[in-house]
């Protein structure tokens, strides 16, 4: 399942996508992100399974454009810490 967290506004689309099929809930991205964007929970979209997956915290969903700003300089963007940490390639950013 692809879970898209974020929003679209006048300036663009800001979504972090998590592929829950790939995510093992290991929590490496939670550690890697300095701004507390992620948390590991029981898969909220599949209540009948007990799988642990990562989600974007409710508070961050409304402001990720700004929260992720420091990781995304306009020129020479380094690899994003969250994506680099994920060995399963489960995270992507739309911007």
């Amino acid at each position: 399942m692809i879970a898209n967290y974020g929003y679209k506004d006048g300036s663009g689309e800001y979504f972090i996508s998590v592929d829950t099929e790939k995510c093992t809930g290991c929590g490496d991205c939670v550690e890697a992100c300095l701004y507390g964007v992620f948390e590991v929970v029981e898969n909220p979209l599949d209540p009948l399974s007990d799988d642990q997956v990562v989600v974007v915290t409710e508070a961050e969903r409304k402001k990720i454009k700004y929260t992720c700003g420091p990781c995304k300089p306009v020129s020479d963007r380094p690899p994003l810490p969250c994506m680099a940490a994920c060995l399963e390639d489960a995270i992507s950013h739309s911007w």
Binding site: M1, I2, A3, N4, Y5, G6, Y7, K8, D9, E13, F15, P44, L45, D46, P47, L48, R61, K62
Partner: protein
């Protein structure tokens, strides 16, 4: 039908409750329920062995636990059933953690997917839920499991609440907004924003300019449709397609979404506002079955 729709409260939509008089719930094995407490409306759905038995749909009050109780009481009305007769209750919606008698809270996205699968059958692949204060696009598989979803978490515009404010501003009853917005010879230019705050002043300005109400409503419905189509396109649409939530009852918005997508939405056979609570009741049953198996 409990509400008087002739009142001057233009935003006030019709609350309702229903139960199946031909079904004897006492013969059922599992009685399950879902309670969806949204920001604008609350619903309770009671199911007997996975079949729809009773429901209610009413306005959310200022207090979520009380709204959940009211919705449940109203669904139970006339059934001879008491809250204790229900084996498992799931809470969903914005106020899901505030349903005092629920055993478990489940996100509305999972519940809407499951509920839409029940309402429209296994061919449903894309669900657009246009609720009181947000809007979600969900792709589901033939079992009603979420495949992907996208919701606009930031802005509450273009939602049921926005429509209520708008109905009030123009003095047009909310159930008439859709029809009235179609009474224009041609589509007006799109208003620049669907934000409740801006749309209000923009609409007032258009009225002062001499636009008839129909045209202002058309412009607003058009802007709202355009906005959610953007959301759907980002997710990707596959037929069958259906719209749930209160705005699904607004033909002015629905027909404009269909036109822009060049896809028809399935015609609902049940009240589109109870999809989430239906999903909750179905999950409640499945969770109880899972519990029983473990023992």
């Amino acid at each position: 039908m409990a509400e008087d729709t002739t009142s001057k409260e233009y935003w006030r939509w019709t609350e309702s409750n229903w139960h199946d008089p031909d079904m004897d719930w006492r013969e059922g094995d599992i009685v399950s329920a879902g309670v969806d407490v949204g920001s604008v409306s609350s619903q309770a759905v009671i199911m007997v062995d996975g079949k729809l038995y009773a429901y209610s749909n009413m306005r959310t009050g200022s207090d979520s636990p009380k709204s959940a109780e009211n919705a449940m009481d109203w669904a139970l009305e006339g059934t001879g059933m008491a809250l204790d007769d229900i084996h498992y209750v799931v809470g969903t919606g914005y106020g899901r953690v505030n349903v005092p008698f629920a055993k478990r809270a489940i996100t509305e996205i999972a519940c809407h997917a499951r509920g839409a699968n029940f309402m429209y059958g296994p061919t449903i692949k894309t669900v657009l839920d246009m609720g009181g204060q947000d809007c979600k696009a969900i792709r589901v598989d033939q079992k009603g499991k979420v495949v992907s979803f996208l919701m606009n978490d930031k802005c509450a515009a273009g939602t049921g609440r926005g429509m209520e404010v708008f109905a009030d501003l123009l003095g047009v009853h909310i159930t008439k907004v859709g029809e009235m917005s179609l009474q224009v010879d041609e589509e007006p230019p799109m208003v620049s924003s669907t934000c409740v705050v801006f749309a209000k002043s923009e609409a007032s300005a258009l009225l002062r300019e001499g636009w008839p109400k129909e045209k202002v409503l058309a412009a607003y419905c058009l802007a709202m449709a355009h906005r959610v189509v953007g959301l759907l396109e980002r997710l990707g649409i596959e037929e069958d397609f259906a719209i749930t939530g209160g705005i699904a009852k607004n033909i002015g918005v629905v027909s404009r979404i269909e036109k822009e997508l060049e896809i028809k939405a399935l015609t609902p056979s049940l009240d589109t506002q109870i999809a989430g609570a239906i999903g909750g009741a179905l999950f409640a049953r499945a969770l109880l079955q899972k519990e029983r198996k473990k023992k």
